[in-house]
Amino acid sequence: MTMLKRTGLLVTVAALLWAPATGQAAKTGMVCTPGGPTFNLVANTGDIETPDGNSVFLWSYANQSVNTGHFQAPGPVLCVNEGDTVTIHLHNGLDSHASAPNMVPENVSIVFPGQSQVDASGGSEGLFTREAAPGGDVTYTFVASRPGTYVYESGSDPSKQLEMGLYGALVVRPSSHADWAYGSATQFDPSREYLILLNELDPDLHHAVETGGLYDITKLHNRYFAVNGREFPDSVQDNGVSWLPNQPYGSLVRLQPYCNPSNMSDPLNPPPPACTPASPANTQPALIRMINVGDLNHPYHPHGNHLRQIAQDGRAFASGASSERFGETIGSGQTEDFLLTWTDQDFWNATTNQFPNGVALTDYRNLTFKDDNTFYSGSAYLGRKGTLPTGVVQQNVCGEWYFPWHSHALNEFANFDEGFGGMATLMRVDPGGGCYAFPSSTTIPGGVLKSGSYTDLGIDDTKSYQVNPKTTTRPNATTAGQTSITVASASGFPASGNYFIRIDNEVLQVTGGQGTTTWTVQRGQLGTTGAAHLSGAVITALANDWYAGFTSVPTGSQNLKVTYKGKNCANTTGTTCTLIASNLPQQTVKICNWTIAGATGCSTATSSGWVTLPAPQSQPVGSTDVSTTWTLPGSANAYIGTGSNKGQVRVLVHTQRWTASSPTPFSTWGNFMQLVYDAP
């Protein structure tokens, strides 16, 4: 499978929350293997795939309770709680090697660096600990007395078995505090807990083991460098993707900017809309558990924000001894833990803090790799997308930023010496609160454009998109009781459904002939009195309807939020808003549910596909901007078009002013509209 196809799938998957209790695999983040604190492991053989199309024979540990010990690399992540009595039964399945008939099985074992008072029973005595012969078993028991990030690995013939892959991560969580790494100062966001397990391998040595050839560690020439058992770009694929059946662990790190809504003067807060008093708090850091099970010391270099190292080898640093790092050499066999809070340095914002004129836009986020694939959005602003050259395949969902995390031993940033690849993953920074989308078009099914365009809706500023109710004229005089009237034009008036119009101070309701120039009307509505009107009188709709179109919203998005900010003014001409003091227009905002009648269902103002957003479903809006955000929990798929409408979202604003005794003209001034969603 080509790299392009694989990475293209990045955008097609749905987000799930981390679910440690059930062992359900989240798409990103550390995955604890089911079970515990008793685990039944098997050492067995299998193959991994590398991005250059190679496959490499490995030995690894598997969890017998996961698909009957399905081979996986690296070994399963064992998660236990402080104080647990951990029991690990190890079966040596290396005696079963039908795919490699000349392979010579060996005794295997497990040692637990950082654990004390381990009890080993069964099996036979080896150099380090008790071992299981091929086909045999051994059991280890210990009390997980100290929280931390640890390795478990083979203590038998390590210069072969560690190269072959017999290792995994062991995580001990503080008792009663699953969201602490160690003490209270190491609290983290449990939905953002990441494992970065580094290793490297030499396929020639693996081939020697597979074929029973001469294994000579002095010939070691590492060719593949992995994070969580996958080489880049496979490393950024989701956990458990079907096309990497033996490499279940991805390593994409996802964050959102820090936001402390309870203290808007917090200097780390990004400006609105990324962080407002209504934003969800995002003040807890992510936890990065880094492990080096390889034979080389790796200089690991996270781009973006610095990481704060809080521990080594499962031992928390003393208070005040943690340090910020942008490059850290992690030694062979070591573990290191880091806290990471994403904060923007400059808060560049397309709305409120634009790059100064003459300043070249930063392009360090222009993460392009082979075949013109890029994770760059085309815009340097977080949450914005721009235009990329023709032919560039873009993996960016909604203007999120990607930063490479990689070994700065640059030969390790490669797959069999071909860059870039290897020991690398990406940190994805989503816009605060989620992905944004801004209107890319507007349509007026009921009304007439006063001024502005969709671009005025994309920025919360002094410019607005202004729509008047539609007007036409009566070519003839009207009597007080006349119920059939002709109009000069029906364009812009609703083509179906009953609606109100105004002639002078009388309100009429159109009940027939909609879409034609001869209307059936009921007279003297809404508290007004039927009256005669002169020839040439102006007919004004009492409502206007317009909708904004959004594009490129990915299927699988969740928790769609619609924000609309706007006002209404008493004048239908001119650039200054004439205040409406009373008899405020009533605003209703609707979204297109594409599953009701497709695009047809959202073609006119009264089509069946428009669904009124949750409360407030209707609210008076005068001449001061009113900003409202509506949340649609769960899957957003019903509101995202498919087929020829793929990725489209439509939001309709309906404004009417007919509840008072003296209807008067108005115009609707849309200042800002955006979507926010959790991207897949």
């Binding site: 009890d119 080993a120 072969k160 560690i217 080389l296």
Partner: protein, 320 residues
């Protein structure tokens, strides 16, 4: 009279009972010390291999030209021990093969001005004050460090003024100590050090105090004892040593106390650096069959090429 200011402990790990456990001993007062060494030839025994020629240090004998100690250099050189405050003159006579000028250095020590080098047949004397306790590496870095690769290195230890402590802090108190000089050998280089193409250098023997497992010496310490491990990396590789069954408290690097000591069980000692850690030996075996393994985690655990394992840079901590 004070005891000799150095101890020669060839071919064995240093195991020194802390002075605090010895009745009536108080810290010696500073004194002037003169150490006379020869840089000369020798051989080292490696598992499964013929003796390999080395260049190394050895204590000077009666002959001024070192002829009486020719071919007896040890790997590593004699361990040199001084007391904090000693004024030390380190004199090295060059008895290497022709055309190899030695250049004596001890990173971390401040020498009085004077020559650093000595041609074959000459002696260089370097004077310093052992002003700070700690673990130091002495070496000859001549011939583009080919001399170091050949074995011209050893441990230099400055004892704290307070007996039973590695440094002048109570946190550095220990019961037993072991010195681990880490290095490696490519026998092909040692066979022809003057003409070997260093681009093809490939170490195939990995050593603790000049020995590869199973020849390495066991470190003896009992449950409950505080074991001071002095790591000295005389090799060319940043070396990560793993310890199973107990933590080691990392308290000093390059003879400087860390402001925040921390616990670890896999520590990387850069080439040319030293590190001091204290491990408290636990009771029980922790499921380990031959004591607590202390080994090179970078898989340098074989001897020769093709590599025979187990071997290499590995030893065990065992009860006496």
């Amino acid at each position: 009279m004070r005891k000799n200011a150095y101890r020669r402990i060839p071919q064995t790990l240093a195991l020194v009972v802390a002075a605090s456990l010895v009745i009536g001993v108080t810290a010696a007062s500073p004194a002037n010390q003169t150490i006379n060494l020869c840089a000369t030839t020798g051989t080292v025994s490696l598992p499964g291999h013929d003796p390999v020629p080395i260049w190394g240090f050895v204590l000077k004998g009666a002959e001024a030209d070192c002829s009486d100690v020719a071919d007896t250099a040890t790997l590593p050189g004699p361990e040199l021990r001084f007391d904090e405050g000693d004024v030390v003159t380190l004199s090295v006579t060059n008895a290497l093969p022709d055309d190899h000028t030695i250049s004596i250095d001890v990173p971390g020590l401040h020498f009085e001005p004077g020559p650093t080098d000595a041609d074959v047949g000459s002696t260089v004397s370097r004077t310093f004050t052992a002003s700070a306790p700690g673990t130091y590496l002495y070496e000859s870095v001549g011939d583009g460090e080919r001399q170091t690769a050949m074995g011209l290195y050893g441990a230099l230890i400055v004892r704290s003024a307070t007996s039973g402590q590695a440094y002048d802090t109570s946190a550095s108190a220990y019961d037993v100590e072991a010195r681990l000089v880490l290095s490696a050998i490519d026998p092909a280089f040692n066979a022809d050090p003057d003409h070997f193409d260093m681009r093809t250098y490939l170490a195939t023997y990995w050593l603790i105090n000049g020995k590869s497992y199973p020849d390495t010496d066991v470190i003896h310490a009992s449950a409950g004892q505080k074991l001071l491990l002095r790591y000295l990396n005389a090799g060319h590789d940043n070396t990560t040593m793993a310890l199973l069954g107990m933590d080691e408290n990392v308290l000093a690097r390059d003879a400087h106390l860390l402001p925040n000591a921390f616990d670890a069980h896999a520590e990387t000692i850069p080439a040319g650096a030293t590190e001091d850690v204290i491990a408290t030996v636990p009771s029980g075996s922790s499921g380990l069959t031959h004591g607590f393994p202390l080994y090179n985690r970078q898989l340098h655990l074989g001897n020769g090429a093709p590599s025979a394992s187990p071997g290499g840079m590995m030893t065990f901590i065992q009860a006496p």
